[in-house]
Each structure stands twice: as C-alpha cells, then as structure tokens.
C-alpha cells in the first residue's frame, strides 16, 4: 500500500530533479530545511526522527540534496521526508513537508473494528509493521 502524506501526495514519487526544484523554492523564501525519517507510517505519527540539524542560512540546494542522499544511504528502508520551516512572525511553522523516500515493501494497515454497546462500532487503524519493534520493521 503506497502511503501518502504531506505535499504532492497525489503525485507519483518525486525525482531528485523535482525535489531539488522544491528545495530551491523553499530556500528562496528563506525557510530552513530539515530531513526527517521514521519507520512508523501511522498518519497520526507527527514527530519523526531528525536526520542531522535543520539547515539554516543555506543559499544553494546542493547541501540539502547531499543530506537527503546521505539519509537515504543510512536508512534506505524508512520513510524520509523533507520539511521547510518558516520562522517569520505569524507563521513559525513548517510550510512544506513531503516524502522523498519510502520502504520497498509497504504492507499497509490493519483495520480493527471494536464492537460497542448496541450496534456501535469503533474503528482503529494499525500499521502491520508496528507489531515489530522499532528499527526492525522494514
């Protein structure tokens, strides 16, 4: 199951050239870019692990691309996303976030139905991979 999250989730995976173009866009706006990774694909998993520090004061996308490729080499089988943080007053929040790497095989989610009083049902979504401990999931 192809998991989608953040920007461009409706598009096929971005090529490096396209990622670079997005990074240039972010840098032109003065946003700080960071690279993050995780192996918990749950949609409510907001806080991913940081790969290195956020990159401030960059002028050129080469540094970011280098960081992305290093992260891919270290964690080829994890989800990796690129975020652009806008520190200007009133925003102070990530302005961009998109996935740049995903595990080769994505097993998807288990849908659990919990039966309640009457005929009510509560739904829970649980990724199959989280049955295994962190770091051994993909």
């Amino acid at each position: 199951m192809h998991i989608t999250q953040g920007q461009f989730s409706f598009l096929p995976p971005l090529t490096d050239e396209q990622i670079k173009a997005q990074v240039i866009w972010a840098l032109d706006h003065g946003w700080a870019i960071s690279v993050e990774y995780t192996d918990d694909p749950h949609p409510r998993n907001t806080y991913w692990e940081m790969y290195g520090h956020p990159m401030f004061d960059l002028r050129d996308p080469a540094g970011v691309m280098k960081e992305i490729s290093e992260c891919r080499r270290t964690f080829p089988n994890r989800y990796i996303r690129v975020m652009a943080f806008d520190s200007s007053k009133g925003w102070e929040t990530p302005r961009m976030s998109f996935i740049v790497n995903r595990p080769e095989h994505e097993p998807g989610f288990h849908l659990e139905r919990q039966e309640m009083q009457g005929r009510a049902i509560r739904y829970t979504v649980r990724p199959y991979v989280t049955e295994r401990p962190e770091g051994k999931r993909y």
């Binding site: 960059l58 080469a62 280098k66």
Partner: protein, 323 residues
C-alpha cells in the same frame, strides 16, 4: 546558447570557438576591470586571476561545443601580509566564478577557526559540515587557515575539521570552492604538516606588499569613495607620513592606510567644528596637511600646534597609538 548549439552542429571550427569566447567575455571582463580599478597594484595576482577566468571561459565554450571537459579544481590559497587585499580578491573571485557559471550563487561564506572547530568531542564534525553546506554553490573563504592546525595540542579538534574539509574539497568539487588565506610563513608551515591539503589546492597565489606609490593611489581612491580629497600640502605630508609609517611595526598595508584616513577625517571634523563659521563644499571635503601632520608617527616634529586650532593635535596623538 541556441546559436552556439547550431554552430556546433554545423561545423566545429576554431574560428567559431573563438567567437563564442569573445561573445561571452563581457561580464567577466567587467569584473576584471572592476578588480583593476578597486585593487591597486597586485600585478601577479591579477595576472593569475585573469588566467583562471580565461580558463573557465574556455572550459565553458568547450562544454557548449560538446568537447570533453574536465571541471578544473579551483581551490585556492591566498598568502600575503595583512591588508594586501586577500579578502576583497576572494569576493571578486566569487563574482567571477559566478559569472562564468562555475558556481551557482556566487556568495562568499567567510569563516575562521571558531566557525569550524567545535569545543568538545563530536561538536566539530556537525559544525564544519554545516558551514560546508552553507557555502555550497558559492565560495568558502577561510581566513587565517593555519589556526585550524595546532601542533602543540595533539587532541585539538582542528585536525578533524581539516579532514572533513579535505573530504568536501575532493567529493563536492562541483558545488564548492574553498579559498584559504593567511600570512605566507605560517601558511607554509601549515601546509608542511598537512601535505594532503597542499596538493588539493591548485592555485597558490602570493599577494605582494604594496609600494609607497601604490599606497598613495589607494589613499586617493579611498578618499574619493568617501567624498574627500587631499589638499596639495596634505598630499605631500601624507607621502612623508607613509614613509615613516611603513618603517613602524604592525604596518598592514592598505588597512593601515584606511585607518589613517579615518583618523584624518576625525581630526578634520574636529577642526571644522572648532573653527565654526560658514563652511563651503571645499571645506567639508578637503583633508588638510595639519590633519596628517598631527599623527603620532611624526613624533617630535609635530607642527600642527601652529594651526589655528591647538586642540586637535594632542587629541590626535592620543588616538594614534591605540590603532
């Protein structure tokens, strides 16, 4: 671009190569002219920069005509005494590299040891890498690079910074140009202990000291920039001042001249305020001989006390030794 392509498709003659090169020359020539105007003297340096610029233009022309090109290594080392224009030249170099399309953004990140070397174990690598990432697409200018290596302390983290730098200079050649700068003798010693660094730098450029004549031209240029000029007497006095100042310790070429000019302006301002009355443009823009002669380098034969304002000279001489 497209015309170059079509030329290339039609035939690859030397004449067409040549025409491309002269066509694309303009931006670079403007910068080289700017260098010539802004930086007095430094003939060997300018010659070398001109060569590098020419090589880059030829490389680009070759690239456009589809010939094989090996991206040149452009890491440089500027050695020379203080105030000989190393930093200014690094800025211009970045502009040239940007103009010929060798670096993408043409910005200069100027750093010293503090920005690269960390304070505890594990601090150096991220710090150096961050600086390298910031400099990518532009020029990384490391001033007084020899401070990176401290032979007296074998646990110094500087060595680690050098290693990461070496790696980046080798692997990210397309994205990064590193320029090291420092005094000649210390840089030589630095390279002796880091031979790998020496061999990875293609261009070792020595900045010669300025002659007295060149320094006078520098002074005139600087004054002109600030909207001042010397009176004839002051120019003579300044020549004398330079002779004396150059003999003194801590003389740092153009920088000393600039500092001297700043002090002249201070004294001029004080003279004008004390003099009072109405002032014309000439009064406001001219540096008089007494401002120059009030300097402490003239020692015993200071004669500015004879001027209408007795005050400036003692004050002038007290500010002098501090600089």
């Amino acid at each position: 671009m497209s015309t170059a392509q079509s030329h290339a498709d039609q035939e690859r003659t030397d004449a067409r190569d040549e025409r491309r090169i002269t066509l694309e020359n303009d931006g670079v020539r403007q910068i080289l002219e700017k260098v010539n105007r802004e930086l007095v003297g430094l003939a060997p340096v300018k010659a070398r920069i001109g060569q590098i610029a020419a090589l880059l233009m030829v490389e680009r022309a070759r690239h456009e005509l589809g010939l094989t090109t090996e991206p040149p290594t452009l890491h440089m080392c500027f050695t020379g005494n203080p105030g000989t224009g190393k930093t200014t030249m690094a800025l211009r170099m970045a502009e040239i590299l940007h103009e010929v399309g060798y670096v993408r953004s043409g910005h200069v990140i100027s750093v010293t040891r503090d920005d690269l070397v960390g304070q505890y174990i594990g601090h150096t690598a991220p710090k150096t890498k961050e600086v390298i990432k910031r400099a990518m697409g532009g020029v990384l200018f490391i001033d007084e690079a020899y401070y990176l290596y401290r032979p007296e302390n074998e646990r110094d983290y500087g060595q680690e910074a050098i290693e990461i730098l070496l790696q980046a200079m080798e692997n990210d050649r397309d994205d990064l140009v590193v320029i090291l700068a420092g005094y000649k003798d210390r840089m030589d010693r630095f390279f002796q202990s880091n031979p790998g660094l020496h061999s990875r730098i293609a261009h070792h450029i020595a900045f010669p000291d300025y002659s007295a004549d060149e320094l006078r031209t520098v002074a005139d240029l600087l004054l002109e920039e600030q909207g001042y000029h010397f009176t004839d007497d002051a120019r003579k006095a300044f020549a004398d001042y330079l002779q004396r100042r150059m003999q003194q310790p801590h003389f740092s070429n153009a920088r000393s001249v600039r500092n001297a000019l700043d002090r002249f302006r201070l004294r001029q301002a004080l003279r004008l305020t004390q003099q009072g009355g109405s002032l014309g443009v000439e009064d406001l823009t001219s540096i008089d001989a007494q401002e120059v002669l009030a300097s402490s380098v003239f020692g015993e034969n200071t004669d500015s006390g004879t001027g209408p304002s007795g005050q400036p000279s003692p004050q002038g001489s007290t500010t002098d030794p501090a600089s």
